[in-house]
Amino acid sequence: MSGSELRLFWEFVIFIIMLSVVGFYCILVTRNLIKALIGLEILTKGVTLLFIIVGHSTHQEALAQALVITLIVIEVVVIVVAGGIILSVYRHEESLDARALRKLKG
């Protein structure tokens, strides 16, 4: 592996780490359920970018693309189902505050 390729890889890794910090912070701090979902989405974006840069650096673009496509499918389904759950919570509680979920029983 050439020095320039390794340098490119590390440059991307720095920004992927920053993106992951943003995603984790959002999930940990926010009380809004939609914002929490956005945090999860940002984390997934970091993973997607990591797949792409690793695929490019190892010359395995096809495998990386196959994994990214699988990741995108999972991401969409998670967002749709989580969005549905958030709307159900909103209809029930009239609030998007995650603290409202503490009252749930059963």
Binding site: I14, I42, A66, T70, V77
Partner: protein
């Protein structure tokens, strides 16, 4: 190379903006910007099929899902906006500092000699060949997940009749 760095910076700033924005609509738009920039990198690194998926599904469909979810909920009242604005500086003020700190730490790690190398095993296989021949179990998994998501959405979005309560 310089353009890459600029794009990556814009991506991180858009992510921070989407987390810190008061309006959920702005947050969803920030997320779409992150997606668009990732799509640009996908096209640049010869992952055009994944790029098309990212652009159409993540930038398009997911943003629409977010906007619909936001549209189905009521916007914040004036009192809630005031409360949130007061609380925001305290809760999210640390985020830009943490992001810069994480970036600086990662840059510092660059100079540590890990002896890290990525194994290069050049493959000429097309993505379609890889999906059908190497990762066919993933395809079945995708179909099952899509079905599960479809059924989940049908159940969650089903209108409940008054007498069922």
């Amino acid at each position: 190379m310089m353009l890459d760095i600029v794009l990556l910076m814009v991506m991180v700033i858009a992510a921070v903006w989407s987390v810190m924005a008061r309006s959920l609509l702005k947050a969803a738009i920030g997320l779409a910007i992150v997606s668009v920039i990732i799509t640009i990198f996908m096209f640049k690194f010869n992952a055009s099929l994944a790029g098309v998926f990212e652009l159409s599904v993540c930038t398009g469909l997911i943003t629409v899902i977010f906007l619909s979810t936001i549209g189905l909920t009521k916007p914040m009242t004036h009192k809630q906006i005031l409360e949130f604005s007061k609380d925001r500086a305290r809760r999210y003020g640390l985020l830009p500092v943490l992001v810069v700190l994480a970036g600086s730490l990662a840059i510092g790690l660059l100079n540590v000699p890990f002896g890290f190398t990525l194994v290069q095993k050049a493959s000429q296989a097309d993505v379609r060949t890889v999906l059908w021949n190497l990762r066919h179990l993933d395809l079945f998994g995708q179909i099952i997940i899509l079905l599960a998501g479809g059924f989940g959405a049908v159940i969650l979005f089903k209108e409940i009749k008054e007498d069922e309560w």
